[in-house]
Amino acid sequence: MAEPVLIRSLHILLQVLAVLALSPLIPGLINRVKATLAGRTGPPVLQLYHDLAKLSGKAALFSRTTTGMFLAGPVATVAAVLVASLLVPFGHLPAPIHFQGDAILFIYLFGLARFLTVLAALDTGSSFEGMGSAREVTFAPLAELAIFLGFAALAKASGSASLSDLLASPGLAHARSMAPSCLVLAGWAIVYLAENSRIPVDDPNTHLELTMIHEVMVLDHSGRPLALVLYGASLKLMVLGALILGLVLPRTGRPWLDWGAFGLGQMLLAAGVGVVESVTSRLAMAKVPQFLMVGVLASAFAFLILLV
């Protein structure tokens, strides 16, 4: 516990820098894996950095119908996910900010981002964006339930509501908690795909408005607001990835090893998403709740096993 202040601040600095600077790498990695599997050259790994730089110099269009809420969606997503990133441990335990209840705040910050994104979409008065936001709020309750049941399973032993405790549990290394941890991992992996609007729930590359969920909600954003949307999406990949990795990462206590494992984990996760996107197709919209229900049930079973 008695950690020198200097070392601790270095870890915090490293985590903040990783979130701010390295998040846009993840979509690049995913796309690179997809391109390789499909036999294409594909965009460079650093493509998103170029896009962000280009978009921040471009003019933004604001529809006549919109109010200030239109801007609040992208802004709140980035702000809320950045604050949430301080609550989840990356390569070092505990997270920069940890207290009883930070797990709940973490999820509710994502809720805040969703609330304002949905409102920003409805602000345009476009039927497409209404459609996307209706879908988003329909699927989110199941995703949130899966996450919370996973928390319940992880907290069954300790009763702690802090991510830094929940994700520090022996997890996979421990015989008794191995099966529940695997189930929670499976449940959360489904949530990870859904929340980051990846195949099989949503397709970030589709160009048909009628079939999209998240992408259609940001159809009218351009210029700097669009840059925030893209940046926010990459932050979400990084931060939710850290939540999942927390379940499986071994915590050795040696900084270089832990941070290295975290970096490798994020890359493997990105590669995994790329593989999933290459080998599966999108689910029909009516099947998405069933898919998410699998996540809920996996987490619920994890909790039930611990009750026995």
Binding site: A80, F128, P141
Partner: protein, 645 residues
């Protein structure tokens, strides 16, 4: 003590001067209720900050029995929303329900009386005093519901409310009789140990639960609530939803404060009822088209959240976990105050919207944020808070309840903590969907009707009370540490022993700091995004075809459709729709309606059949006064005979 009496007297009389003046009656009443709030809040703040409490024995009430008042931290805490909402409502009422409006004088008189009865109820420490205040409150509220008594819907809602509330009062008589039988006194006080676990105690608990559940609108006893809250004038709805239903919670809290040893199943019952009310309340809210009915169903949901907290607290108390008890009860009590603030705010802003557009139908609205920016901001704060999103007050109280559930997880195989956790998560996500719908459809997009396009901002005297309530939401959200000591005193008064202070169980300063960080980041990013070049006079993307029209927008019904139809086991939406079949289709209509499963699905069909069966008994209901007097006399005679034997 004198401050409390001043508040009571001022509010009871606040409508009287208005009876004799042609104009300015509303201003006088608002001034008196505001003064009453200032006095009462000062007294409440004194007691909650550790000042001495007082008790008063009334020698003989007009009923010929003794009465008593006790101003303890429980009374002080519940008095806060009563006075705040009545003062805000009366200021709002000056322009919302001006003198020339139907029954304006009656409305003002009754609102003052309602405040006074509720303020009396929170401090009642004797069963007779409690029943007098309870009954007074119920009857005054009935007359307030039927303020617009020319409308059949309002009269119907009023009758339904009156019948339900009297059923509840009847149960309360029974419950009081049972407890008084055990203690031998009508004074409120500790019940003997072992009473709660006895059969008699269980019967009393059941009756209390029925009575207080009816008042609070706990599912399935909620059936009267949506129509009553929708029919009443908005500032009355805000008081009824924010305060009146909480008197049911007050009753439960008083009951728990008398019982030294609540059995385990009490806590479980509270959690189960809370989960049911919470999830069904928000699910029913999702399908509503009427803005005020939607808000009313959300009151049922929030009562569910409060019950989850009470249940977890009771479980913690029964099993000897003081931290769970403090977090559960503390969260529930803070949510009582929070819900008063944001639900009051939501009803006031919904009233402003209804007045500006002349309709309560969501699908006739749209784009009001441009015409009514102040009201839109107020509604947004309320929606933000009621979804429990950080950094507003709803998040803080839900966090306490979540923490109680987390801390309760490690024990035993009890399913209740996990159920509470899952229910809270589901309620939170569904409430978010519902308020995204409400705010998005009412205030954003393009106007869906000429009335919505012509709407104008509400006058300042209506926006000021909304602003006060919104500030309250913000204050508790940003600095929850301020409320913690008051909650500690409340918990101590409730359980009779010192509980661990809430400030040691939750790191409240961290919440404040993170809220600050969130706001700072938001402002910074917003500034950056606004700075770039922009073009503002462009249409919404229309795929390059003809410009989109307001009629193409998603409506409230279409927004909620996928969620409502995903829950066919709970909601039975009625859809009337003629399918298009021919190649050159005729115009068609689509209508959807979400009936209440308890009232329309079970209650009315069952009661109609029962009424048909019991028709033969009409013989006894001849409608002549002498015959009823005869019945009373015969009953009394038989009772006397029975006691004599």
């Amino acid at each position: 003590m004198s401050l409390y009496w001043t508040a009571l007297l001022l509010s009871a009389l606040s409508g009287v001067p208005g009876l004799f003046t042609a104009r300015k009656g509303g201003t006088v009443s608002a001034a008196m209720l505001t003064l009453a709030a200032a006095c009462g809040l000062a007294e409440a703040a004194r007691v909650l900050s550790g000042g001495s409490r007082w008790a008063l024995q009334l020698p003989a009430t007009p009923l010929g029995a003794a009465g008593a008042l006790a101003f303890d931290p429980i009374a002080a805490f519940f008095l806060i929303p009563v006075l705040v909402l009545s003062a805000c409502g009366s200021i709002y009422g000056i322009r919302y329900w001006p003198d020339h409006h139907e029954n304006a004088r009656r409305l003002r008189l009754l609102l003052g009386l309602l405040t006074a009865f509720t303020a009396l109820l929170v401090a009642a420490a004797h069963m007779i005093t409690f029943l007098v205040a309870w009954e007074g409150m119920a009857i005054v509220a009935f007359f307030l519901v039927i303020t617009e008594d020319r409308e059949a819907a309002a009269r119907q809602a009023g009758w339904l409310y009156l019948i339900s509330t009297h059923v509840g009062t009847l149960c309360l008589f029974g419950a009081f009789a049972l407890t008084a039988g055990a203690t031998g006194t009508f004074q409120f006080g500790l019940l003997p140990a072992g009473f709660a676990t006895s059969a008699r105690g269980s019967a009393a608990f059941g009756l209390f639960l029925l009575s207080f559940g009816l008042k609070a609108g706990v599912l399935p006893l909620h059936y009267w609530l949506p129509s009553a809250h929708a029919a009443a004038p908005s500032h009355v709805s805000s008081f009824m939803s924010g305060v009146l239903i909480k008197t049911g919670i007050l009753g439960m809290i008083r009951l728990l404060s008398w019982v030294p040893d609540p059995p385990l199943w009490w806590g479980g019952t509270f959690v189960a009822l809370g989960a049911l009310s919470g999830i069904m309340g928000v699910a029913l809210a999702l399908g509503q088209h009427d803005l005020k009915r939607l808000l009313a169903y959300h009151s049922i949901e929030n009562i569910g959240i409060i019950l989850l907290g009470i249940g977890l607290g009771t479980l913690g108390r029964s099993t000897g976990h003081p931290a769970v008890m403090a977090l559960g009860y503390g969260g529930a009590m803070l949510h009582v105050l929070n819900h008063g603030l944001f639900k009051g705010l939501l009803f006031l802003s919904a009233g402003a919207v209804a007045q500006a557009t002349g309709t309560r139908n969501l699908d006739q609205m749209g784009g009001l944020a441009k015409a009514m920016p102040g009201t839109a901001r107020a509604f947004l704060v309320g929606a933000w808070a009621i979804c429990g999103l950080p950094p507003l007050n709803g998040f803080v109280s839900e966090l306490f309840i979540y923490l109680a559930a987390f801390q309760a997880l490690p024990w035993s195989r009890s399913p209740w903590p996990a159920l509470a956790l899952a229910a809270l998560a589901l309620i939170g996500a569904l409430a978010l969907a519902c308020f995204a719908k409400a705010y998005g459809i009412v205030f954003l997009g393009a106007p869906r009707s000429p009335a919505a396009a012509a709407a104008a901002e509400a006058p300042r005297s209506m926006r000021v009370p909304m602003g006060i309530l919104a500030l309250g939401c913000l204050l508790i959200g940003l600095a929850p540490g301020l409320a913690a000591p008051a909650l500690d005193r409340l918990l101590q008064a409730m359980t009779g022993r010192p509980a661990p202070p809430l400030a040691t169980l939750v790191t409240l300063p961290a919440l404040t700091a993170l809220a600050g960080l969130l706001l700072a980041l938001g402002l910074l990013l917003r500034r950056w995004a606004k700075r770039g070049a922009s073009a503002r006079d462009v249409p919404t993307w229309d795929c390059g075809f003809d410009p989109a029209t307001p009629r193409m927008q998603y409506t409230a019904s279409s927004f909620a459709d996928s969620l409502v139809s995903a829950m066919p086991w709970a909601l039975w939406p009625q859809v009337r729709w003629r399918k298009l079949t021919t190649l050159f289709p005729w115009p068609t209509r689509y209508e959807s309606h979400l009936p209440d499963p308890v009232l329309d699905g079970v209650g009315i069909p069952l009661l109609e059949r029962l009424a048909h069966r019991l028709e033969r008994l009409r013989f006894f209901q001849a409608g002549h006064l002498p015959i009823y007097l005869l019945y009373v006399m015969v009953t009394l005679f038989l009772l006397l005979l029975w006691t004599a034997v």
